[in-house]
Amino acid sequence: MSDVLSIVLKRLGLGVITLFVISVLIFGAVEMLPGDIAEAVLGMGATEENVAAMREQLGLNQPAPVRYFDWLSGAVVGDFGVSLVTQTPVGEVIGPRFANTLFLATYAAAIAVPVAIFLGVVVALLRNTLFDRVANVLALTSISSPEFFLGYILILYLSVKTGMFPAIAKISGDMTFLELLQRTFLPALTMVLVVVAHMMRMTRAAIINLLSSPYIEMARLKGMPAWRVIIKHALPNAWAPIINVVALNLAYLITGVVLVEVVFVYPGIGQLLVDSVTKRDFTVVQACCLIFAATFILLNLAADVLAILTNPRLRYKK
C-alpha cells in the first residue's frame, strides 16, 4: 500500500507544478488577448478618457509581471482575489456555479457510466451480431453530432412536442430534489449521449482485446458460459483502460459543457468562464481554469490509483 501512497504524493506534487505552469500560461494568454478589461467593460461606450480612468482604478497601469505576482502571492495562501469587473470575491462568484456544474456532471455520470459499461459488456458478448452493429452505429452517430444539435433535437421531442421535460433548466434553491432532477434531465441526457459512446466502445475494445488470451481460452474450454467468462475473467483485467476513459469523460462532463449550458440556459461555470474571457476578467478566468485543471489532475490520479487497486499485478510490483 505504501507504493500507492508514494505514487499519490508524487503525482500531487507534479499536479501543483502543472497548476503553476497553467496559471502562468493563462495569465499570458489573457494579457495577449486584444483589448483590455477597461475597453471590454465599456464596450462601444469606450472613449480614451474613461478607459484611462478605469485602467487606473483597476491598477492596470502596473507592469504585467507585478500584477501576476500580486495575484500569485494571494493565490498561494488561498486568496484568489476579487473579480476585476464586479469587485466581488472570486469564491463568491464561482462557488454556486461550480456547485451547479458538479451537480449536473454527477447526474450525467450517474446515468452514463453504468449504462456505458453495461452496454460495453453486452456488445462485447454479442460482438459482430446485428445488435453490436446497431449499437455501434447509434453510438457513433451520437458522438459525431454536435452537442448543441443533440440538445435541440431532445428539446423538440421531449419538450416542445410532448411536454415531458422543461426546455430550459432554470433552477432555484427552493426546489425539491426530484424537481431538480426533472428540470435538469434534458441537459443531463444530452451529456450522457455525448459521453456514453466513447466509454462503451472502449469497454468493448478492452474486453475483446483480452478474449484471445490463453486464460480466457482456458475458461471457455472449461465450458463456462460466455457471459461468465466475460464478467469473471475478462472484465477485471480490462478495468484499467476503462477507468482511464471514464476519468477522461468525467473531466469532460465538468469542463466541456459550455455549449450545453448555453442551449439549456443552465447557470454553470462554463458560461461564466466564456463571459469572463470576453470581459478580460483575469482573476475569474484564472480561477476557473485552475479549478478545471485541478479537476482533471485529480480525476486522472484517481483513475490511476483505481487501476492499481483493481489490478493485483500492479499492486504488488516486484
Binding site: 483589448g35 464596450g43 469606450a46 435541440y152 422543461p166 430550459i168 463571459d275
Partner: protein, 535 residues
C-alpha cells in the same frame, strides 16, 4: 369617397387602429370625415380599440437576450440588454419616451429652458420615493448625473454630458443644468439608459445595493441568470400592473423560442428572424414588429484610399440591393435605409428625400470616372454585430460583383470587435442603438471631431449646420436644417446604411398592451413590465 357611416368602415378602422397603424387622433379625424359623431367614435375607441382597462395582477415572466455574468449595477457601465431592461424596472429617469415616441415625464414633471437653450430647469415629482423608503430629492439627481461627469468618471455616458458645465439643486425638487452652448434636446438626452437616478451617498451614489425608484424592486437575482422583482407600491408613475416580474436571461435563440412556445415565459425580447414566419403560425403567440431608429451602418474611412474619392463611396452605396438584404437578412422586419442616419420613426425625419436604389450600372460608370475599375476592398464584420451580420456582408459582396466591385468579407472574432476592429479598420459593419434625436446621433458619429466619427468624414457645411440646429428652438427651421444635413450625409458621407432594424419580440396571447409601442428599445421601450398587463 362614398360617405357611409356604416359600422363596417368603423370596424375596419378599429382593426387598423388595433394593429397600431392608426393613432387615436387619426382615428377620430377619419371617423369625423366619414360622418360618424365625435361621441360615438370616441366611445367606439375606448371599447373596441383600447379594449378593456388594464387589469392588475399576475407574474410577468420575461425571457431576455444578451446578458453577461459579469454585468454590474453601475449605471455608467450598462452595456448589455439585461442591464438596460432591468434598469427601466428598478430605476427611474428624469424623462421617458412615451409609447407614441413623444417625450413624457418620469421623475421630472415639467421642464423649461432659457431662450438660448443654455440652461434647463427640471421640476421633480414630489411623491417619488426609493425602494428603501427614502424620498427622491434634487440632491440624488445631481449626484446621479455627476457620476457620469468629471475626470475620474468611468462612465460610458460621459461624452453625452460633456457640454454640461454645472448641475445645481435649486431646492429639494428643482434641478438646473447649465450648458456651455445651447442644446434644445437636453430633455431627450435624459432618457439615455445610463442616466438612471440612484440614491446619493456622500459625494457619489450608492449603485451597489441595487436600490432605485423604479416601478419594481429587486427581490433577488443573479447577473446573467435571472431576476425576481415585485411591484414598488410607492412608485410615482402610472401602470405597473403586474404583481411580480421574473426576468430570465436566455442568450440562445433556440432557448428563447422554445421557452415561449412551451409557456415557460410570457414574452421574449428578441425572436430569431429565420423562424419568424413559423412562429407566427402558433395560435398562442403574438409577434410585435416595431420599426425603430436602430441602424446597421457600414462606415468607410473617407481619408483612406480608395474611399477618399466620393465617386467610389457613391459607387459602393449604389451597389447594395437593400430590398434583397431586408428580405433575406431581416426577413422583412426592417425599414429601408437611405444612407443618412435618421429613421422614419424619429423626430425631424425628412420624408422628401428620394430613396436610393440598387444601380450597378451607374456604380460602374462612377468607378470609371474615379479611375477605380476592378475595385477590391475588404469589409470586416463579426457574428456578434447583429444576427445575420456576416450573411449580410456576404450577400452585399455578391450584389457588388455586378458593379465590378470585389468585396472580401472578413469575419473578425466577435470578442473585442468594438475595441479592435471598429474605428480601426477602414470598412466595417456596425450596429447602432437608437438615439432619441438626430442631434445626439450626428454629434456622436458624424461630427468632424467626434471620437466615434466612424467614417472619418469631414464636411464643413454639415458641421456648421449641426451647431446651428442644436440651439434652434424653432421647429420648422430646425427640420429644414436636418433635411440639409441628411442630404449631405447621403451624397457625400462615408456611411452606407442598408436598413434600420425593427424590434421583433413575441408574447403569449394573454399578455396585452396599449395601442402604441415605443421605438426606443425592444418590448415597448424596455418598459413592458410597467405598461403591459394580463388579459
Amino acid at each position: 369617397m362614398p360617405q357611409k357611416s356604416d359600422p363596417e368602415l368603423l370596424v375596419k378602422m378599429a382593426e387598423e387602429a388595433r394593429k397600431g397603424r392608426l393613432s387615436r387622433r387619426d382615428f377620430m379625424n377619419f371617423a369625423l370625415a366619414a360622418g360618424i359623431g365625435t361621441s360615438m367614435a370616441s366611445g367606439f375607441w375606448t371599447t373596441k380599440v383600447a379594449m378593456a382597462a388594464p387589469k392588475k395582477g399576475g407574474t410577468f415572466r420575461w425571457g431576455i437576450h444578451d446578458g453577461n455574468t459579469s454585468d454590474t449595477h453601475d449605471p455608467g457601465t450598462y452595456v448589455t440588454r439585461q442591464m438596460i431592461f432591468l434598469a427601466h424596472q428598478y430605476r427611474s429617469y428624469l424623462t421617458m419616451i412615451n409609447p407614441d415616441n413623444s417625450l413624457g415625464p418620469d421623475l421630472a414633471t415639467s421642464w423649461e429652458a432659457t431662450p438660448d437653450a443654455k440652461q434647463w430647469t427640471f421640476k421633480l415629482h414630489k411623491d417619488a420615493v426609493f425602494h428603501s423608503g427614502k424620498k427622491v430629492t434634487a440632491k440624488d439627481v445631481v449626484a446621479s448625473m455627476n457620476h457620469h461627469r468629471g475626470e475620474k468618471s468611468t462612465s460610458a455616458a460621459k461624452s453625452l454630458l460633456t457640454s454640461v458645465t454645472d448641475i445645481i439643486a435649486d431646492d429639494d425638487h428643482t434641478v438646473t443644468f447649465k450648458l456651455n452652448g445651447g442644446n434644445a434636446d437636453l430633455p431627450w438626452l435624459m432618457t439615455d439608459y445610463h442616466l438612471a437616478v440612484c440614491p446619493a451617498d456622500g459625494d457619489g451614489i450608492d449603485w451597489k445595493s441595487g436600490d432605485g425608484c423604479g416601478p419594481y424592486k429587486i427581490d433577488s437575482g443573479e447577473f446573467g441568470v435571472s431576476w425576481s422583482l415585485s411591484r414598488h407600491d410607492g412608485w410615482h408613475g402610472e401602470g405597473a400592473y403586474f404583481d411580480k416580474v421574473e426576468m430570465t436571461i436566455l442568450n440562445d435563440p433556440n432557448a428563447r423560442q422554445t421557452a415561449l412556445v412551451t409557456g415557460d415565459v410570457d414574452c421574449v425580447s428578441l425572436v430569431d428572424l429565420k423562424t419568424l414566419a413559423l412562429l407566427k403560425r402558433n395560435p398562442n403567440i403574438a409577434v410585435d414588429n416595431v420599426p425603430s431608429g436602430a441602424a446597421i451602418t457600414m462606415p468607410m474611412f473617407c481619408d483612406t484610399a480608395p474611399f477618399d474619392d466620393v465617386n467610389v463611396r457613391q459607387a459602393l452605396k449604389l451597389s447594395i440591393d437593400r430590398q434583397e438584404i431586408i428580405d433575406k437578412i431581416a426577413f422583412g422586419a426592417a425599414t429601408m435605409g437611405n444612407d443618412f442616419h435618421l429613421a422614419p420613426v424619429q423626430p425631424y425625419f425628412p420624408e422628401e428625400i428620394p430613396q436610393r436604389e440598387y444601380d450597378p450600372d451607374k456604380a460602374k460608370s462612377l468607378l470609371k470616372k474615379a479611375g477605380a475599375e476592378g475595385l477590391s476592398v475588404s469589409l470586416s464584420t463579426a457574428d456578434s454585430v447583429f444576427s445575420g451580420a456576416v450573411d449580410m456582408c456576404v450577400l452585399y459582396a455578391e450584389q457588388a460583383k455586378k458593379a465590378g466591385i470585389k468585396i472580401n468579407v472578413v469575419r473578425e472574432p466577435s470578442d473585442g470587435y468594438y475595441s479592435d476592429v471598429w474605428l480601426k479598420k477602414p470598412f466595417t459593419a456596425v450596429s447602432w442603438g437608437a438615439r432619441p434625436t438626430p442631434d445626439v446621433m450626428f454629434s456622436l458619429a458624424y461630427k468632424d471631431d467626434a471620437a466615434w466619427n466612424e467614417s472619418h468624414w469631414q464636411n464643413a457645411e454639415f458641421n456648421k449646420l449641426l451647431l446651428q440646429a442644436k440651439a434652434e428652438l424653432d421647429q420648422k427651421k430646425r427640420a429644414e436644417m436636418y433635411h440639409d444635413m441628411c442630404m449631405l450625409m447621403r451624397d457625400d458621407g462615408g456611411t452606407i446604411i442598408p436598413f434600420f432594424n425593427n424590434f421583433v419580440y413575441a408574447r403569449r396571447k394573454n399578455v396585452m398592451h396599449g395601442e402604441n409601442l415605443a421605438a426606443s428599445w425592444s418590448c415597448d421601450g424596455a418598459r413592458a413590465p410597467s405598461r403591459w398587463w394580463f388579459a
